[in-house]
């Protein structure tokens, strides 16, 4: 019996699941529940254990510890084919000797209980192909398709099973940027149409932020934070999440809180949230979200510094501004702002721009600029 029983509307429930290979612990115990119809993205750098989670749910990897429930049923000892999950692989894993039609129909031709009639299989194949716009290509071999089309075959092969849960392991990672954006939209349209719980693995934060209902951020086998994309962005649980989410990367600075509980950052003082005072003498890390900082001409600007470098992105540009004392910030500026290295730049911070983390990297609070000292 499990210590926690999954709720009825939960499609996948992982309870204290962990994975190790011998003495090497690749995933530390964690809990995760995915509601029916929810799109959850597992996000993290390579080797963080995100694909291992999918494989454990699919039954392709054994679970070292904990319980996995799919559609309310404990599946730790259930064979992959009986788990009611379908997986789209990082590599498309299409059968190269079979036509698109046979590839899509393969799960149904394998079905024994009930054994399906040929007409039923054909009808469902055509429907699945139609959902992913593959009808004209049914008689082609995978080698005759483009990358995006192959990926859609893999998707159709998952759809045709009508599973309780979809598992997708970096399905777009090798497509070019334009096709990837199109496929993201297609995937979301398919998801909206079939409304099944989906666990989607990626290392691309843009995919995660644009597609997910919730994002699970992983690093080195440990869950860093689970939350809505906006929560991860506005209130990162630790320095890893703060730097992993958002582009450009958030610069971090190690500072010490003064004995009077005030934190100095360049020539300004920062205060924490009213209910989370900063401990006097504590070592902290301060991060400033570049997209929440902007250039201004106002004399009451938060920071004043010298422009060092400018990255032009088309829609806007980012400036690295040296604030002195070894501190710098990255600031969003107008695309056509005429700032050259060496120019003096004034910077304002939107609310929520500044985050303070403790010595171990965990978030203490947001901070606001109290006043300029000079």
């Amino acid at each position: 019996m499990s210590a926690m029983s999954p709720r009825a509307d939960v499609a996948v429930s992982l309870i204290q699941v962990a994975k190790s290979y011998g003495d090497v612990e690749v995933l530390q115990p964690f809990d995760l529940q995915v509601a029916e119809g929810e799109f959850v993205v597992l996000l993290g750098p390579s080797g963080c254990g995100k694909s291992t989670i999918l494989k454990m749910i699919a039954g392709l990897e054994e679970v070292s510890h904990g319980e996995i429930h799919v559609a309310g049923e404990l599946v730790n000892y259930v064979r992959p084919r009986d788990r009611d999950v379908a997986m789209v692989f990082q590599n498309y894993a299409l059968y190269p000797h079979m036509s698109v039609r046979d590839n899509i129909a393969f799960p149904l031709t394998m079905s024994r209980r009930p054994r399906l009639k040929r007409g039923v299989i054909e009808a469902r194949t055509v429907t699945a192909a139609d959902i992913v716009d593959l009808t004209p290509y049914l008689d082609r071999k995978p080698a005759q398709l483009s990358g995006g089309q192959r990926q859609r075959v893999a998707l159709a092969r998952a759809i045709i099973r009508q599973p309780a849960v979809f598992l997708m392991d970096e399905p777009l990672s090798n497509l070019d940027a334009l096709l990837r954006a199109d496929m993201r939209t297609s995937l979301l349209e398919v998801h909206a149409r079939i409304k099944k719980a989906t666990l989607y693995v990626t290392h691309d934060q843009i995919e995660a932020m644009t597609m997910a209902d919730r994002v699970v951020v992983l690093n080195a086998g440990r869950i860093q934070q689970i939350g809505r994309p906006r929560d991860l962005y506005t209130a990162p649980a630790n320095t890893f999440v703060a730097q992993f989410i958002g582009s450009p990367r958030m610069p971090l600075h190690d500072l010490e809180v003064r004995d009077d509980g005030i934190l100095h950052f360049a020539d300004v003082t920062l205060t924490g949230d009213a209910d989370v005072p900063l401990a006097p003498g504590a070592s902290v890390t301060v991060g400033l979200r570049p997209s929440a900082l902007r250039t201004t001409s106002s004399a009451s600007a938060c920071f004043v510094g010298e422009a060092k470098r400018r990255d032009y992105l088309g829609s806007d540009s980012y400036l690295e501004v040296d604030l002195g004392e070894g501190l710098s910030v990255v600031v969003r500026a107008e695309a056509d702002a005429e700032v050259r290295p060496g120019d003096t730049v004034r910077v304002d911070a939107d609310p929520g721009a500044i985050h303070v983390f403790d010595e171990a990297g965990a978030r203490i609070c947001g901070a606001s600029v109290c006043r300029r000292e000079r």
């Binding site: 494989k55 699919a58 039954g59 392709l60 992959p80 084919r81 999950v85 379908a86 997986m87 692989f89 990082q90 590599n91 498309y92 894993a93 299409l94 059968y95 190269p96 000797h97 393969f106 799960p107 394998m110 079905s111 024994r112 071999k141 995978p142 080698a143 005759q144 398709l145 990358g147 192959r150 092969r157 099973r161 090798n174």
Partner: protein
């Protein structure tokens, strides 16, 4: 100055000719001529004995040793072939050889591919040990195995039967290794996907793995068939009955200590080469290598 120039010039020439060779451009005329001479000598070394056999098989024994040799027999003499089929069970030997070689090839491909699949893709205790033992057994020469094999086959009461010719070659581990190496190359995701789709282990082997390693199996099958078709020592020992004998042994029996009928022997060799040539031509198309393009992201 001039010497330096010459050296420089030579160097440039050498580099240019290397570049030409690398880029596939035509080489100089003497180089081409030399390569043709070498090729011609090679072809002659390979073909002359065979042509001599062809020529001899159509000659009467009286005209065999004329000097200089008559390469084109005149008139063409069919008597050697008539004698081969009329005085000896040559058709039966051919059938025996084709039957035994076909059976060994079919069974061996089946066993080798299944064992190769298990060794390449399945997790079980002692997998590495089994693979190592098989590899070591490849190193044991056939001559060291013949006597024990004879005793086993005699103990089983299989001497002088087709089984004596079919069963022992099936235990050759080289084929398992070749099959394993073909299967190792198939990405694990394909099987994982099939497993999730509901395929049993045997279905994965039959519907996914076998079609993908078909070109490799054709090569393995062809080698097995040819090896079996020409095998001599074991059939000589395991089968005494002339009606159960295979071609290689049967043909060698056409000569005796006192009488060498080279014409008959040559006719036997030529006739024996025809079926294997036909088989080779038929299977040749399947040598075209399949690939995994389209299976995975490139």
């Amino acid at each position: 100055m001039t010497a330096m120039h010459t050296t420089e010039h030579k160097k440039r020439g050498a580099v240019a000719s290397k570049d030409r060779a690398r880029s596939g451009l035509p080489r100089s005329r003497p180089a081409i001529s030399l390569s043709y001479v070498i090729l011609f000598v090679g072809v002659a070394i390979a073909l002359v004995p065979f042509l001599y056999v062809v020529s001899t098989s159509f000659k009467e024994s009286t005209s065999l040793f004329s000097y200089p040799p008559d390469w084109i027999p005149s008139p063409i003499f069919w008597g050697n072939f008539e004698s081969l089929f009329a005085d000896h069970p040559f058709a039966q030997w051919t059938f025996n050889t084709l039957f035994v070689s076909g059976a060994v090839t079919a069974l061996k491909l089946w066993f080798d591919s299944m064992a190769g699949y298990a060794l390449a893709k399945m997790e079980f205790a002692g997998r590495r040990g089994v693979a190592l033992l098989l590899l070591l057994s490849v190193a044991i020469p056939i001559s060291a195995l013949i006597i024990p094999m004879f005793f086993v086959v005699r103990y089983l009461g299989l001497l002088n039967t087709y089984w004596a010719l079919i069963l022992p070659p099936l235990a050759n581990p080289l084929g398992i290794f070749m099959a394993r190496s073909f299967i190792v190359g198939i990405p694990d995701d394909l099987e994982a996907s099939a497993r999730l789709d509901g395929a049993s282990e045997f279905t994965i082997y039959r519907k996914i793995v076998l079609p993908l390693i078909r070109p490799g199996l054709v090569v393995l099958g062809m080698f097995t068939f040819m090896l079996q078709y020409t095998s001599f020592i074991w059939p000589l020992i395991a089968v005494q009955d002339s009606d159960r004998q295979v071609l290689a042994v049967g043909i060698s029996g056409l000569q005796s200590a006192f009488l060498q009928d080279w014409g008959l022997l040559s006719a036997g060799m030529l006739a024996a080469a025809i079926p294997i040539t036909v088989v080779f031509l038929l299977v040749q198309r399947a040598f075209v290598f399949n690939d995994l393009s389209g299976a995975l992201k490139e």
